[in-house]
Every structure is written in structure tokens, then in C-alpha cells.
């Protein structure tokens, strides 16, 4: 079964536990500047949005890479960067329509979410379930459910 990160911005409080968990997993440091997931704050609107790679099936980044440094992890479906091949050309960062592949000055390579090999630490660290790791076929179903609930006649009307 393929699983996906499912992000519900409405539940996010902007605490950045996900960024710390991600950076700790990948660099051994608590360091949001090295996180592959980013939480954006829209101050005026009072909203927060965690954002990271959605692992496109037809991944633009993978197709754009001139040295085949991005491959598919067959266990998780994650598009994974191989540091030994990446030359830091950044073409993938241009190809990605979502901006979720990024260059890291610290390593001279590009970085992106790799789903932590199937146990994404951002989801594990999220205190409000704004980030969950679910059956890929079920992404978006919670919103569909919420929308369906809204379309029901009120309890009084059915009683």
C-alpha cells in the first residue's frame, strides 16, 4: 500500500515541531533552516500552512535531473535525491511547480522530502494531526467528509 502525507492547514498552530523533527532526522540537529517541510504563517489572515513535497507520480524534478540523481523509493513512492550523484545544478528546483525541492548551501546539493523511508517524522511530531501519513487513496477524504457533513439537512429537519 502506498501512503501519502496528508496536510490539513486548518489544524496547524505554527509550532514548528515538524520542522525540528525533519531536521533532526536528516541532519541530527534541531534546525528549521534545514527542514524539508516548511510552515508558512499568514499573519494578517491568521492562518498557517505546512508545505512539503507531494511526491508527484510523474515527478518533474526527477525528469529534469540531468544526472539521474533523483530516483523512486519503490517501498514508499518517495522521490529520493542521491547526494553522491547530485551536482547541485538546481534544474529540479526550477522544474518543480510547487517549489518543494530546494538548494542547500550547507551541502551544495538539493534537498527534498524523502518520507523518512516510510516513517515521516513530521507527522509523528505534529501535536494536532495537521500532518498525517495515510493510505494514498484516502488523501483529501477528511475534507470530503467534512463537506458532506455540511451538506446534510440539520438534525432538527430530519427529526
Amino acid at each position: 500500500m502506498q501512503k501519502s502525507l496528508n496536510i490539513d492547514p486548518g489544524k496547524c498552530t505554527g509550532c514548528l515541531q515538524c520542522e525540528m523533527a525533519c531536521s533532526y532526522e536528516h541532519t541530527g540537529t534541531f534546525n528549521p533552516s534545514r527542514s524539508y517541510i516548511k510552515v508558512f504563517t499568514f499573519h494578517h489572515e491568521g492562518r498557517f500552512a505546512p508545505y512539503t513535497c507531494t511526491q508527484c507520480d510523474e515527478a518533474w524534478c526527477m525528469r529534469a535531473c540531468p544526472v539521474d540523481a533523483i530516483t523512486v523509493d519503490m517501498a514508499t513512492g518517495a522521490k529520493v535525491i542521491h547526494d553522491d550523484k547530485c551536482v547541485g545544478c538546481k534544474v529540479c528546483t526550477i522544474a518543480c511547480p510547487f517549489g518543494t525541492v530546494n538548494y542547500s548551501q550547507a551541502t551544495g546539493k538539493v534537498v527534498k522530502c524523502d518520507l523518512c523511508g516510510g516513517d515521516p517524522q513530521c507527522a509523528a511530531a505534529c501535536p494536532t494531526d495537521a500532518i498525517t501519513y495515510v493510505d494514498a487513496d484516502w488523501t483529501g477524504y477528511d475534507r470530503m467528509l467534512a463537506s458532506a457533513a455540511k451538506s446534510l439537512p440539520s438534525a432538527e429537519a430530519t427529526a
Binding site: G14, C15, N31
Partner: protein, 616 residues
């Protein structure tokens, strides 16, 4: 380790920035943040100095856990000699600035001297420089934050800065960070302004990779988060209602002061409560509260993100105040609301925005306005002094007008900026200042709740609930319920809360965790992160050491047992009605015992044997 072991020393007179190693011997005795920076202040500053002169220093300090994955571990404190009180000041703030400072590789910044011209400090990891802030002087804290972000084009940069009230000499000005988080009390922002320092902008990319025992740390912090999530206060009450959950609770037990503490019990409490903030309003169908927001690393997320009703008179013609911003917390809602008698939620939210925008402590500000209102109603001052404002209890229009005047430096702003002690002295009515050591009370009446009165009287930074939150025990029953009107056992309770709080404030953690966490939850997190012995016992002793060190600073600054007192109103004017009717605070029954359990002399001095016991 968790400390970065590096201090940034900025001499504003010389314009120099130098790196020096953290004194690790002191770190093992005082941990970090509040404790460690207070140690530096005590060693480097003459306690008798003029708080607004170049000899005072201003320290921004993180704790060893700041910037780690421990829940709430994003705190930093501003430590200095406070101008409102003349006592040691230590104001703690959340948001994201503290963690960013740590990620840039610094445990603390010590500012000394005074710059000739307005400057701001720019920190990008090891690259540190002072830059001209002449174009920002005279701007609000929000404008300064925006200018810095526009200049450096780095959305991840975090800014701590002062607003116009600090520049204008208001003695309770705050250091604002991340726009609506504040190192709020005692006038730490005023000290920053006195040094011609407008802002500190920081971007850190180094992270923290040196926790002492990573495996134990992840396990201990994970356990801690589970405790917070399962606790009714930290897991449900605070995220849903924020600290404002207290408004109706405290009013209900007869502990909510109103109208400059002339009354206890506020008939308008419900209108300004958490429940009211969640109620959809008529004009646009939205509630005051948009959502809750977290400070760095916080799994509680009690922060309020609010809007003012766009049709409300205060913001109707001001679209810049119609969006979301930092909403009312309990202490602000009380001081701005119950204490001024104003129960207009939108007016209070707007005034709270202005307090954030121009960097004022809303507790001291609200309480000072309340004192001015009483002066006005007694006929001691009139519209001549207030710039034409009919400054009466309960008038939202007057409150909004006087606050705009305050921020803009209008007629009455110099008087209000003195704080209630100096204001009431100036007009010959010192008994109307509801303060200890010159700092105004927060939102719990010491007549209704005895222990908090003792805590106020003995707090090292003047009246403050955050020095020993006995309300947890006296009202909420955490960790055990004590009776509101009992004085027995309160000296011991106050000491225990004061010492534990000093430790939490020195770790990088938020005191709100202690609704759920005991020291047995906290010590293992510190112990795993830091080298040395951080057992429960050592943590508590460290807290006691810090408390006594602060007391010694104040003693050298000229404070005596005579300053451990409450205003006459709270000792003699009994509560007129409600569940606590007839009560006064019985400080005299508690204070001698408090000195005794602290190991102090009968006149509140710290004897040699207590100093030795605490390695002071």
C-alpha cells in the same frame, strides 16, 4: 550540552561586537536564561546604577532547551535593572526570536553602554553588525519589523524591537518580538530605548546538534509532550480558550478585581471572556477569535489570533487594524477591561493591538489608566490634564482615545507613561497606586486569594503573577487545592512556586507547562540535554539560588523588607460583596513565616548561612 557556549557582547558606546565563551561554572549553578543572565547582571552592573543610564546593561538570554524539540522550548528573556521598579527585571517572551538566536549560535547577548545614534543589531549566524536605525526611530514596533524584513529580504528573519512608547520614555515599555509577543513587564523596552537600540534582527542556520544524551532527550521530551496532551488544562482548555479561560472562573470565585481594585467582581466579565471571544458577532458573522497559534515548539498553542469587528468605532476607518493579530490574553483583558471597567471586547482587542504595535505592557498600562480614571472621578485631575478626554471608568470611547494619545505621544502620555506609582504621587494620591515596588498588579485580587498577595509582595520584580502562580493551587487545585482565604501553608506554597518558576524560566521552557508538568517531568528533559547533575533536587535548589540572587541584587539596589508590602486598599478595604465579601489580605500573618521558610532574618535579609547553603 545544549548551550552554544557563546555570548555576544555588544558595546554600544564603542560600536563593537565581540564573541566570548559562556562561563560554564556559572551555567552549572544558574542553568541559563533568567538565572544565568541575572548572574551576569549581578556581577557586571552596579545594582545602584541609574536604570536608564549607560552603566545599566541589557541582556537577551536563551535557556539551554531553547531551540530544541522540548515542548514550549522557544523562550528567551530580557534581563536588566528595570526603570519602573528600580529592581532587577526579567521579562520572558515566546514567539520565535529566542530559538532563532540560539540557531545563530548564541546563548545570550549582553548590550552595554549607549549608542550616539539609533542603531539595530543584525545577526546572521557568526556575522554580526550594528547598523543605522535612524530611519526607524519614531516608527512603531510593527513598522520597524516590516522595514527590517523589507531591507533584508529574508522572511525567516526574526525581529525583537521597541515601539514609540519606549522611545518616549514610558516606564513600562516592552521589547516586542515577532510582532505580538512581548518581553512585557518592568520597562525592559525603555532600557533598550535608552541605549538608542531600536531592534535586534536575527537569522540562524546552525541549529542545535549538541544535546548531551540525544536518545534520552527525545524520550524525555516525548513523555513530556504526552503529559501535556493528556492534561485537561494544557491539552484542551488552553488551546481552545487560551488564558482567557480564567476570566469567568476568577470572577466566579470572587478574585477578579475591578475599577482600580476599588471593587472585586466585574459585572461585564462575561462580555470580555474567552466564551465571548468565540461567539459570532452580528456584523460579519465571525467570532473575535480566528484561531489559536503556537510559539516556537509549543504543543499547547494557547496564543489568540483575533480580529476586531470591522464595523466597530475603533477600527471602522482603519483597514490596517481589521486583519488578524495577537488577541487578548487573560491578564491583558483584565487590566485593559475589568480594571478600567470597560467591557467592550472589540475596544479591548483594538487597544491590545496598539499595546503590541507600540510596545507597552498591557498590565501596567491598563492599571495605570485605571488609577488615572480614579483620579479623574475623584476630581483630582480633569480634562485639562487628559487632553480633553473624559477619562471615566467604563468608557470604551475614552479608553480608545487615551490609548491613541499614549501611542502618539499626546498630552497625557507623559503622565500615563510614568506608571501608576509616580502618577498618583504626582497628584498627591499615592494610595491609589495598585502596585508593589512600583509595578502594577495583574488580574487576581489578594483580598480574595491570600497566597497570591504574599507572592506579589515578595516578588523580585514587583507585583507579578508569573513569579509564583499560586492561583494554580488556590483556585485550580494544581498540584493540590489550598483554600483561597487560608493563610496557613501559604508561605511554603509561595516559596515552592517561586523557586520552581525561577528554574523553568531559566531552562527555555514556558511556565504554562507547569499546569501539567511537575519538576519530575521537567528535570529529566534538562538532565538529558545538559551536562551536569539536573536531578529534581538540584533543579529546585537552583531555582532557590536564583531567587535569592535576585533578592541580593535588589538589596544592593536599596530595597528592604519595607518594600515587601501591599497597598493599604488591599489590607484594609474589605471586599464589599460576592463570595469573598468581607475579606482583606492578611499579609502580616504570612510574611514573617515566609522569611523563616526562606531562611532569611526577621527583617527579610539573607544571612550568611543561607548564602553558603546556596553557594551565593
Amino acid at each position: 550540552m545544549s548551550w552554544t557556549r557563546k555570548i555576544l557582547r555588544v558595546n554600544l558606546s564603542k560600536g563593537s561586537c565581540t564573541s566570548e565563551p559562556l562561563n560554564m561554572e556559572w551555567a552549572k549553578l544558574y542553568l541559563g536564561q533568567r538565572g544565568l543572565a541575572s548572574k551576569y547582571l549581578s556581577e557586571e552592573v552596579d545594582p545602584a546604577c541609574d536604570p536608564l543610564g549607560p552603566d545599566n546593561k541589557l541582556i537577551m538570554a536563551t535557556g539551554p532547551l531553547t531551540g530544541t524539540m522540548a515542548s514550549t522550548a522557544g523562550r528567551y528573556s530580557v534581563i536588566t535593572k528595570g526603570p519602573l521598579t528600580g529592581a532587577i527585571a526579567c521579562s520572558n517572551s515566546g514567539g520565535f526570536f529566542g530559538a532563532e538566536l540560539k540557531f545563530a549560535g548564541w546563548d545570550m547577548i549582553i548590550f552595554e553602554g549607549k549608542s550616539d545614534k539609533p542603531v539595530y543589531l543584525l545577526i546572521q549566524d557568526d556575522n554580526v553588525e550594528l547598523k543605522s536605525a535612524e530611519h526607524m526611530w519614531g516608527k512603531t514596533a510593527w513598522e520597524a519589523d516590516d522595514i527590517i524584513h523589507a531591507t533584508h529580504q529574508d522572511p525567516q528573519m526574526r525581529v525583537a524591537c521597541i515601539g514609540r512608547t519606549a522611545e518616549n520614555g514610558c516606564l513600562y515599555a516592552a521589547v516586542m518580538n515577532d510582532k505580538h509577543r512581548a518581553a512585557g513587564r518592568s520597562g525592559v523596552g525603555t532600557v533598550m530605548a535608552s541605549k538608542n537600540l531600536k531592534a535586534v534582527a536575527v537569522r540562524g542556520t546552525q541549529g542545535i546538534g549538541n544535546v548531551d544524551d540525544a536518545e534520552a532527550f527525545m524520550s524525555a521530551t516525548g513523555d513530556g509532550k504526552a503529559v501535556l496532551a493528556e492534561n485537561a488544562v494544557t491539552g484542551q482548555g488552553l488551546p481552545a480558550y487560551g488564558t482567557q479561560v480564567l476570566m469567568n472562573v476568577i470572577n466566579g470565585v470572587g478574585g477578579l478585581p475591578a475599577r482600580n481594585m476599588r471593587d472585586v467582581g466585574f459585572e461585564g466579565a462575561e462580555n470580555i471572556s474567552a466564551e465571548a471571544m468565540a461567539e459570532p458577532r452580528k456584523s460579519d458573522g465571525k467570532p473575535n477569535l480566528t484561531t489559536n497559534g503556537a510559539c516556537f515548539g509549543c504543543t499547547i498553542a494557547c496564543g489568540r489570533i483575533s480580529t476586531v469587528d470591522p464595523t466597530h468605532f475603533s477600527v471602522k476607518d482603519k483597514p490596517q487594524y481589521q486583519g488578524n493579530s495577537g488577541g487578548l490574553e487573560y491578564e491583558a483583558a483584565w487590566a485593559l477591561g475589568a480594571d478600567t471597567g470597560v467591557d467592550d471586547l472589540d475596544a479591548l482587542t483594538y487597544v491590545n493591538f496598539l499595546c503590541n504595535e507600540d510596545g507597552m505592557d498591557p498590565i501596567s498600562y491598563g492599571a495605570t489608566v485605571a488609577a488615572a480614571m480614579e483620579l479623574f472621578e475623584e476630581g483630582v485631575i480633569g480634562t485639562k490634564e487628559t487632553g480633553g478626554v473624559e477619562l471615566r471608568f467604563g468608557s470604551a470611547e475614552a479608553f480608545v482615545a487615551i490609548t491613541e494619545q499614549m501611542c502618539n505621544g499626546g498630552e497625557f502620555s507623559a503622565d500615563l507613561g510614568m506608571g501608576s506609582k509616580r502618577l498618583t504621587e504626582k497628584y498627591g494620591k499615592p494610595e491609589l497606586s495598585m502596585s508593589v515596588k512600583g509595578q502594577e498588579f495583574p488580574a487576581y485580587d489578594p483580598r480574595g486569594i491570600q497566597g497570591i498577595g504574599l507572592n506579589y509582595a515578595t516578588s523580585n520584580r514587583g507585583a507579578c503573577h508569573l513569579r509564583g502562580y499560586t492561583i494554580a493551587s488556590e483556585v485550580l487545585g494544581i498540584p493540590v487545592k489550598t483554600e483561597l482565604n487560608d493563610t496557613d501553608g501559604k508561605p511554603e506554597l509561595v516559596k515552592a512556586f517561586q523557586d520552581a518558576t525561577a528554574l523553568v524560566d531559566s531552562a527555555g521552557l514556558c511556565i504554562f507547562t507547569t499546569f501539567a508538568w511537575g519538576m519530575d517531568n521537567i528535570a529529566p528533559q534538562i538532565d538529558a540535554a545538559c551536562e551536569g547533575d539536573w536531578s529534581v533536587e538540584n533543579c529546585l535548589e537552583t531555582g532557590e539560588r536564583i531567587w535569592n540572587m535576585e533578592r541580593l541584587f535588589n538589596e544592593a539596589a536599596g530595597f528592604t523588607a519595607d518594600d515587601d508590602k501591599l497597598p493599604r486598599r488591599l489590607l484594609e478595604e474589605a471586599i464589599k460583596d460576592g463570595p469573598t465579601k468581607g475579606q482583606v489580605n492578611r499579609l502580616g500573618e504570612m510574611l514573617p513565616k515566609y522569611y523563616e521558610v526562606r531562611g532569611w532574618t526577621a527583617d527579610g535579609k539573607i544571612p550568611e548561612e543561607t548564602r553558603q547553603r546556596l553557594s551565593l
